[in-house]
């Protein structure tokens, strides 16, 4: 593949291309999970030409598994200790709750608990987000749960380019990584530069502005950029920071922007109470005292009917409302 030639890929294809490149370069990289053989339930294990990766790499490296979440993650810990670099597919983060011991007590703790005798290079793909009337058990955004756990890296890409570059970086990190793609972004297309990595822990400025800072990640970055464009029409300059990685998060970028604008709004799709936005707001308040506000979901389960689901969705209108309220403080 020629470098530095921009190609257009969907968010799902970008991850598949990155994974295929990693598998091509290192035969210790394998993937396992339910429905991978036919290309993944969202097509995220299919090449851009539509071929399942299993057709190219074989069923020993793109592994269809039983519906055994505990053992999918637990076995991947054993695989990593025995020399492989597994990529785990959980379909939706909600199913990862069946593997919480394996993620929190095993993968995250192994290196420290055994005094550094081993490492667990493991990328766990736990897709998040509200997705087309999928109701309470297939719509959650649980990134804060994992950011709370020492030993884990937490990544939440918002664009095809980031899904490509961050997945490569996650695979190269050697750490257990919680990799959270958003289910409503799979079909989103965008430019990808083959070979271009995205560093873990480095934020991206998605929209320029000097009057307030909006910090977000994953799909909500797009609502925030939409809002920032509309706010610009009202003479309000909003800088939108796409955090990309939640642990470690780019506090330098956020604090520098906060110092310049004096106002920080954190926007996420997850429930606002004890969400990762609270961590960012508290950190900003502790460093320089910019005015802070949060916009997240109310603490209710996600409902099925569109009118119910819509109550907890974040959109540009809600972001504008929260931004204008913050500007008046």
């Amino acid at each position: 593949m020629s470098d530095n030639t921009t190609i257009t890929l969907s968010y799902a294809q970008a991850a598949a291309v990155a994974l295929a490149e990693a598998m091509e370069a290192d035969d210790h990289v394998i993937a396992l999970g339910e429905d991978l053989g036919r290309g993944g339930v969202f097509g995220q294990y299919r090449s851009p030409d539509g071929q399942p990766l299993a057709a190219r790499f074989g069923i020993d490296r793109i592994i269809d598994t039983p519906i055994s979440e505990s053992t999918i993650v637990g076995a991947s810990v054993g695989m990593a200790l025995a020399g492989l670099r597994p990529v785990v597919e959980m379909r939706v983060v909600d199913f990862a709750l069946c593997a919480i011991d394996e993620i929190v007590n095993q993968a995250a703790k192994n290196r420290f608990m055994f005094g550094g005798q081993g490492r667990v290079p493991l990328v766990m793909r736990l897709p998040i987000g509200i997705w087309a009337s999928s109701a309470a058990q297939h719509s959650q955004s649980l990134e804060a749960w994992f950011a709370h756990i020492p030993g884990l890296v937490v990544v939440a890409p918002s664009t095809p380019a980031d899904n490509y570059g961050l997945l490569h970086a996650a695979l190269e990190s050697g750490d257990p990584v919680i990799y959270m793609e958003h289910k409503e972004l799979w079909a989103a297309t965008g430019p990808v530069v083959p070979g271009e990595r995205v560093a873990l822990g480095k934020a991206r400025v998605a929209h320029d502005g000097n009057d307030l800072t909006i910090v977000s990640w994953s799909k909500q970055v797009h609502a925030c950029v939409d809002a920032a464009q509309q706010l610009a029409g009202q003479g309000i300059g909003a800088e939108v920071i796409d955090l990309r990685t939640l642990w470690p998060w780019d506090r330098d970028a956020v604090l520098a922007s906060a110092a310049r604008t004096g106002r920080v709004l954190v926007v996420h799709e997850a429930v606002q109470v004890a969400g990762f936005g609270a961590e960012i707001a508290a950190t900003v308040a502790e460093h320089g005292g910019a005015k802070v506000a949060r916009l997240g979901a109310p603490r209710v389960p996600v409902g099925y009917a569109p009118v119910l689901e819509g109550q907890v969705r974040i959109d540009a209108g809600k972001v504008i409302g929260a931004a204008l309220a913050l500007m008046k403080r």
Partner: protein, 333 residues
């Protein structure tokens, strides 16, 4: 068949190690609510002893090679010693010292020696089973000529990962030996009334895993059974299960006297002590003096381990911040 004196040596080393650790734990385990002294113990926290179960690791591990991988339970000293770990580095870990296998970060419940393929004791029941099948899966993918072994207790068979891991091992035809150390008790509750059916053997057989049930207090029987099962696995015939019936002499943790058990049951079990039985066999074979020599060597080895551990340095305080993760290292708040 492994030489009985060699099997006996492993058992006696495990017994000596755990007896010494138990003494060193006196006064500790405040978390259990049974502290016997206000003096801090040398071995702190929960110390889970496998006293009475030594014949199982002693009989299984002679059939393992250094490249074979092993996962253990919270009761893992015997598995670790039998796989080839150094008793002094183990004792240093139990004492929480910098020179322990885990640099003082894990203690008894997380004892491990990755250099001999012992991938760790585990504080969560049944957690070692999926890790072992994953290790076996990796060995198969990488075409490494080695197997994985997972020790677990009868309590573990009531957790989902037990069924998931056995199913997984059959689905992918993995080189893995499951060893159920059936000591009849789940923490402090008898397993029988908590368990439907007849334990690990029929559950494994329902999934098509050939299983052997054995008197787990007869080290020679364990040795013979393990030899056959390991040979099958190495020949590529898929996973196997060894169901070893045994008895835990002590309580759940070192300061638990196990007073909830029927004294008659305990009395009868102590008559079946695997160490005493092997010693009796050696005596009958006219090898009593060799056995005495082995016992003296084990005592001397463990005395030296205790002395070394007591004199060993504590970890540097900044070790609390090391071996966590590389990405974002140095940012802890």
């Amino acid at each position: 068949m492994t030489d009985l004196l060699s099997l006996y040596r492993t058992m006696v080393r495990i017994r000596a190690f755990e007896d010494a650790a138990e003494i060193a734990s006196q006064g500790g385990v405040q978390a259990w609510g049974l502290a016997t002294s206000t003096q801090p113990a040398l071995v702190r926290g929960p110390l889970h002893l496998s006293t009475g179960q030594e014949a199982i690791p002693a009989g299984v591990c002679p059939h393992l090679r250094p490249a074979d991988l092993l996962t253990s339970t919270h009761r893992g000293h015997g598995h670790t010693l039998a796989k080839g770990a150094d008793s002094t580095k183990m004792m240093c870990e139990l004492f929480g010292r910098a020179t322990g296998y885990n640099k003082g970060k894990g203690g008894s419940m997380h004892i491990a020696d990755f250099s001999v393929g012992m991938l760790g004791a585990n504080g969560v029941v049944a957690a070692g089973l999926p890790i072992a099948v994953g290790a076996a899966h990796a060995l198969k993918i990488r075409k490494v000529d080695a197997i994985a072994v997972s020790f677990f207790g009868d309590g573990a068979i009531n957790r989902g990962p037990f069924m998931e891991a056995l199913n997984w091992a059959v689905v992918y035809q993995l080189p893995v030996l499951f060893v159920c150390e059936d000591n009849l008790i789940s923490a402090t509750t008898a397993s029988g009334p908590m368990t439907a059916g007849h334990g690990a053997t029929p559950r494994a057989e329902a999934l098509g895993i050939a299983s052997t049930q054995v008197d787990g207090n007869d080290v020679e029987a364990v040795d013979v059974a393990a030899a056959a099962l390991v040979a099958d696995i190495r020949a590529g015939r898929g996973p196997r299960l060894l169901h070893a019936l045994t008895y835990r002499h002590k309580g759940h943790v070192s300061v638990d006297t196990g007073a909830y058990r029927d004294p008659e049951e305990v009395r009868l079990a102590l008559q079946r002590d695997p160490v005493e039985r092997a010693r009796g066999r050696l005596d009958a074979l006219g090898r009593g003096s060799e056995a005495m020599q082995v016992e003296a060597e084990a005592r001397a080895e463990i005395d030296a381990a205790i002395a070394t551990a007591e004199a060993a340095p504590w970890p540097a305080s900044d070790e609390a911040f090391r071996d966590v993760q590389t990405t974002g290292e140095g940012v802890w708040a």
